[in-house]
Symmetry: C2
Subunit: 337 residues, 2 copies
DNA sequence: CAAACTGGCTTAAACGATTTCGTAGCTTGA
DNA sequence: TCAAGCTACGAAATCGTTTAAGCCAGTTTG
């Protein structure tokens, strides 16, 4: 490998001079700089990130923490979209991405230790499970972090507008004339809590009384459970006219169940999803849903994290709310007249 | 940060002794080792991967290259599954994962340069676009690589059994009595070529003549184009009785088109997908498809790559074929009687 | 009993880069 | 003419870790 030393010998200058020339310091003569740059290119010199990291204590490397309770991990389009855009933005700003995990090889480390071990400058945390103590240890540490969809002690985070999303959906459904709206919701997480609160509040503000049995617990990304919940709702004497699903993918379970019972969407039953994944927009009828702007979230997360890293003094911790978009598909029927 | 130096001072031994004690060298007294290990734990010592990498020339870090022509990137479940399992297996073997990209920050590098820059011990390459010269430069280099779904000059690769997959599908469809099978295929890649060849061969071996207009070009992961192709096939005077789609997701476009024309699946038209993503198995009727075993592929890729890295002498380059599984759903009708 | 060996530790160099502090030589100004 | 200032560069320390080589005392061997 070509190193700075090789260049310095070839050019008859010291290693210090080469380093300065390549890094644009001003105390080197113009001719010398030109010569060094030329020789460096000729010899195929590449800087060594490892050596630089060791000396400077900065790796230009961002850790990404995806903890996966559910088993679907990166397969969830919401997460993979965030990761994809986070990666693009980080790279644009000169940072690489490394996954942070526990237990690398035989050596067992927690997330915080792993981050230090790899000298990551900061970590983006996207996980369902923020109750994990190892995750909390990392967030609470001195390492710059940005958490997605979770706020810890006023630290920087990027949040999807769950309140606004559910509110927009419910308002739209209400405007279409629906008064009996059921909500099949995901497992108990802070996100789910926000959605439930928003659902309650919105309904209350619209003067809607929602009976307890219109709330059905299910899981995210699990069509089977949503299917079961759907069946229970169909069995009610006062069937809802519209069902909200935990997410677009879970809705598939409901869709199948409705079809099995000969209940047509949206004529006999209106439905809405959440997420706005690709799938939702290619189904027919097109699913009414709330699109979470995962691209913007990933991008913002990378941007804020880099800011925290590069201006630790001036970068204020903040919660960035990324609003999504109501996608009016064709699965909520207008029953006004 | 606690370093080896701190421990050495506390224990009254040299840094070399500490390093050896922690790394299990045998020329240190048992008492000394015990004491050093204890003090290290007490002080919260963590090894520094960067320093180690610099000294040893080994980073225990694997690069992952995902190039994305299509724009859907990691969002494609096939890729994200591979990545997920690759990550798990690499970590199990003591390696971290870093994404390799071009153009990090203002400095422009190709993939090979980036890999050297970050001192990655090896790279797993998963991309659609193997014609990219920068990708080829990396594969052809001295850096250990494992490519997915692509063979370069007999180097190690992990391959999905595209030949066997299409063959299995066609045989199954033939056995169900179909003689007019159309094939909507993806864009021109080596994978597509293999599938087309397999389709031709299998049909020939079954004595099936397939007219040219039963082959429709479309794109992977693009329901719209598959929808259009479906429409064209429906307009034919000698309609096929079964349509093969580029992949499960694209099939959605066909599904919609068929429904629009009042063509019911599978009574009026049989269909099959490819990939076996989650979606395919929650749709009703359940999609008949060929499941690519992305988990095994990612796992094998990581395993082989680590082998190439750790035993460069003895690890023979090889092509590992990962076979998938025919998922007999309910979308291919038995029309034998 | 000298030579050879051994266990247990240290010394010092090395990995590749950056940066602080000099300093030699030149120009400038009064 | 000389102090001051500037330009262009170098010496050396440093980041944290590893390892070849050396050393010393004590033990074994011929």
């Amino acid at each position: 490998m070509v190193t700075i030393k090789d260049i310095s010998e070839r050019c008859g200058v010291s290693r210090a001079t080469v380093s300065k020339a390549l890094n644009g310091h001003t105390d080197i003569g113009a001719d010398t700089i030109a010569q060094i740059r030329r020789v460096a290119k000729e010899m195929g010199y590449l800087p060594n990130a490892t050596a630089r990291t060791l000396k400077l204590g900065r790796s230009h490397n961002i850790g990404v923490l995806f903890v996966d309770k559910t088993g679907c991990g990166l397969r969830h389009e919401y997460f993979s979209s965030i990761l994809d855009s986070l990666k693009v933005e980080a790279e644009r700003r000169g940072y690489d991405i490394t996954f942070i995990s526990k237990d690398i090889g035989e050596f067992s480390m927690d997330y915080y230790e792993h981050t230090k071990y790899r000298n990551c400058d900061g970590v983006a945390i996207a996980t369902v499970d923020f109750s994990n103590p190892a995750v909390l240890k990392l967030i609470a540490s001195e390492i710059p972090t940005v958490s997605l969809d979770f706020v810890y002690d006023n630290r920087t985070s990027v949040l999807s507008d769950n309140i606004g999303g559910i509110s927009a959906l419910v308002h739209y459904i209400y405007d279409m004339g629906h008064r009996r709206i059921a909500f099949i919701h995901g497992e108990d997480t802070s996100v789910t809590q926000k959605r439930l609160i928003s659902f309650h509040k919105t309904c209350a503000s619209l003067g809607l009384h929602v009976p307890e049995y219109y709330f059905k617990p299910a899981l995210y990304h699990d069509p089977k459970l949503s299917g079961l919940a759907t069946r229970e709702l169909l069995a009610l004497s006062d069937r809802p006219t519209c069902i909200l699903y935990p997410d677009d993918f879970s809705f598939i379970g409901g869709m199948n169940e409705l079809e099995r019972h000969g209940v047509s969407i949206p004529d006999d039953m209106s439905v809405a999803g959440y997420d706005g994944i690709l799938l939702s927009q290619v189904l027919r009828p097109r699913l009414t849903t709330y699109r979470q702007d995962a691209e913007t979230m990933g991008c913002e997360a990378a941007a804020k994290l880099v800011e925290l890293i590069e201006q630790p003094k001036t970068a204020l911790p903040q919660q960035i709310m990324v609003s999504g978009q109501l996608l009016k598909g064709d699965t909520v029927k207008n029953i006004n007249e």
